[in-house]
Symmetry: C2
Subunit: 308 residues, 2 copies
Amino acid sequence: MSHFTDALADAVLARRTPVCVGLDPRWEQLPAPLAGAHVDSTAGRAAAYREFCSGVIDAVADLVPVVKPQSAFFEELGPVGVTALVDVIAYAQQRGLLVILDAKRGDIGSTAEAYARGMLGRDAAPWRGDALTVNPYLGEDSLTPFVEVAGQRGAGLFVLVKTSNPGSGLLQDLVAGEQTIYRHTAALVERMSAETAGRHGYGIVGAVAGATYPEQLVELRAAMPHTWFLVPGYGSQGAGAADVAGAFDDRGLGAVVNNSRALIFAFRRGEYAERFGEAKWQDAVAAATRDMISELAAGSPAGKLQGK
Amino acid sequence: MSHFTDALADAVLARRTPVCVGLDPRWEQLPAPLAGAHVDSTAGRAAAYREFCSGVIDAVADLVPVVKPQSAFFEELGPVGVTALVDVIAYAQQRGLLVILDAKRGDIGSTAEAYARGMLGRDAAPWRGDALTVNPYLGEDSLTPFVEVAGQRGAGLFVLVKTSNPGSGLLQDLVAGEQTIYRHTAALVERMSAETAGRHGYGIVGAVAGATYPEQLVELRAAMPHTWFLVPGYGSQGAGAADVAGAFDDRGLGAVVNNSRALIFAFRRGEYAERFGEAKWQDAVAAATRDMISELAAGSPAGKLQGK
């Protein structure tokens, strides 16, 4: 049986970068030539999302180890959207990428188990996720079923610990018993990761920790030595390489850094718009991804992966 | 534009009970004659879930105001399961029931908006929910998009506050600034509900508060005068009428009490198994639902709805 975080670390080492490309299709922002070829209906949008995300995957498959589809944009379209999502996940895997399904599920007991069975495991689960993001608000008995199914299927989890949004502090930063709530969550996650550590020292229960809170990333890296981080908030949410530097270990492992909009819609912004425009949007995706890979290598321990 | 909680209160008054029937189909527990008519595949199970849930709806449509499908069991089957879920929701609405979609979504910004647009509103949303359960861990900016879309579409929300599971205390019961985390969540929800209060005094942002924590129900009822409660945990999770009594106001309004397994799989247990058996499983559902309605009327302020 494979071990998700070992597979992730191996893929990061092979591609020599921890960049994760977020697949967040939005109808209004698709390249005009692509959107124009589809009817504006749920089925038409789903087909456009499938085509767009497959195009992004083609552009980055040789550059990065992992992609993260955002389930909400597909679910918004109903069953046809979910079908498109499953197709996109399968295509990414066919192109050699790992897939973190960003669906932020959370429930208890047999209900959590149903989500886990449906979403975790590329061979066993209809949704085919190699990993899934999950929400800890319901407590440890809501996470255990996910961890069990993930373990059985060589899949992984990323538990929301300290999220990247401005309002994340409302509950996560409250202090109880001299520790923030996110540290309480972190303690639970680290215990579960220590119990499932693989060859590279990391367990199958990762943590979501936002790039927009650099100090907390440093704090959490120290507190969670066996926990791999999924770091959102790079790019459009304002964080750069220096902000995420604290998420890595001294080998340049221990974190993947996600960027969605600034990569997949690169053809809409600044130099990429000028160099490529809408017609060559896939070249813009590839160029923006290469630039992010370079930025991270130059400005964070991810440079170790390239011998820097 | 209709107001969800006004519609819910009107339906509770019309049916004279706050019982909510949970639609949690599980393949292994379906009536043998029904399951036997379907192939054991994702498509076959989805068809069986559609038939079973429609049968439950037929059995309870004249008895209760609202049903709560558990999204996880449908999502477990992939796109065909989501299609079955949408069909079940539409059928419940066609039979005059309100539908709380129990999907516990939670995300931020435009992603939260995508979930909200996909799931809230029987006319506008592919998933057709009249209301949706949501998770507060990401903070206020994760709830606002849901509240806005719900308000625009006459739909409602139920935010997880104090859940019914044994492990809910891990984060929810931590004390920060002299208040538990669930009270911090409660304060946010109550503010949003006060701002959206309708004819009956309740806002469109409800709270999930478990029947298994009776003292906290009393505490939350006092702290959240404008907030309608969705109370899970009755029946199979061990709570009875006395446990949920504190969830109601003195008119018998302010809460719906959910029961899933003990109603929909009544044909499997005790007297219902003897009286009806698997062949008459729908009669068992109706009888168990009538008994729960009577229990609640006898042992809680819900009796006010029947003039008791």
